[in-house]
Symmetry: none
Subunit: 214 residues, 2 copies
């Protein structure tokens, strides 16, 4: 909850009164400290105008519409009012009675055969999907590190070609096709601006070493 900026934790009939002392991730202690304990689900969700339960949807007798997590969370984002996400116990999930307080049930799409998730993980996934919905669309592709100017590409090409020649590599193939190959290669591997001084430094050193010996 703390990871996704939420802090209104409400616990119904906690098995252990010691839940407040549970070990939490760094920064999560305040959520446990201010958590409120209720005797019934009715009281816990009393001030919420939208209540969404979570289920692995294994039982046949579910009485509510089941929505994929994404649909449900979109609803939460659009809802103008307080929303409760209701999770059942690790072992039994939500009872029919618990579910009766829900406007809809959410299901995380899982692999066939293993629909039942760990409670903490299910909560994390739900809140992630919620937070994902609030942040809007993400830019299509990652922005690339600035490409390097043609003059740098060419200088690198020249240095590489000299290295190939000095080391005796270019004798094996005709040099024109090698030159084109190296030139294309330097442009095809996506070199960033930071790579240029590094690569040139290395090539200068290697060339110096080889020339020194020739």
């Amino acid at each position: 909850m703390a990871n996704f900026g939420l802090d209104d934790l409400r616990v119904v009939k906690p098995y252990e009164a010691a839940f407040r002392e549970a070990v939490s991730a760094v920064g999560g202690a305040h959520v446990l400290q201010k958590a409120r304990v209720f005797e019934t689900v009715a009281e816990a969700v009393g001030d919420c105008s939208l209540v969404l339960g979570t289920t692995a949807a294994q039982r046949r007798d579910l009485q509510q519409p089941i929505e994929p997590l994404q649909t449900g969370m979109r609803r939460v984002v659009e809802h103008r009012g307080r929303t409760a996400l209701l999770f059942g116990s690790e072992k039994f999930g939500l009872s029919n009675d618990d579910m009766s307080f829900c406007h809809a049930l959410l299901r995380i799409e899982t692999a066939a055969g293993t629909p039942s998730m760990n409670l903490g993980q299910a909560v994390a996934v739900c809140l992630y999907e919620w937070s994902r919905g609030t942040s809007g669309e993400v830019a299509a592709c990652a922005v690339q590190d600035g490409a390097i100017p043609g003059s740098d590409s060419e200088q690198l090409t020249r240095m590489l070609l000299e290295l190939l020649e000095q080391s005796g590599y270019t004798n094996r193939i005709t040099s024109v096709s090698t030159e084109q190959k190296v030139r294309r290669w330097v442009r095809r591997v996506k070199l960033g601006k930071r790579d240029v001084p590094l690569l040139m430094g290395v090539l200068r050193q290697v060339l110096w070493k080889i020339r020194e010996k020739n």
Copy 2:
């Protein structure tokens, strides 16, 4: 992992040999049973052509591009080859050395002040986003030339490091940071399958030439 239909768990230097007996959610035991243990990250990701690390991005000295989870997972969905998601320990996360094996780092968008997530929850969120991407519409980012396996990247890294050493380049900077720098670089520039034999041929020749003279 079982919830999202994945079962190829690889563990590097597990603290407890007993991890296989860990209590898992219903249906997850087979993942632990068939998990493989490795001594190094290099071996663990040896057959993977895309390695994505995860980070809370709290440290200032990160050397790799950091992508939002959604962008990274879109990449995984589109990648034609084996992908590894690399998670660090609960306490310390990934080391700089671990990260040097990654093509990019992923960050789950979290609330300011509480970026550090529980490991199991971070894994669940990542796999959920991945599974979400496989089922839904995937944006059309540029299709890559077949990426190269981790073992090739590592062999290139080794050859480049030897070249730096043999040519006297590595005396100038401390060798651990150089090693990580080179390793990151080999993974960051987008090498294609065709580049590997070419580059290795060149490096072999240059190394031979330098060794001959030393």
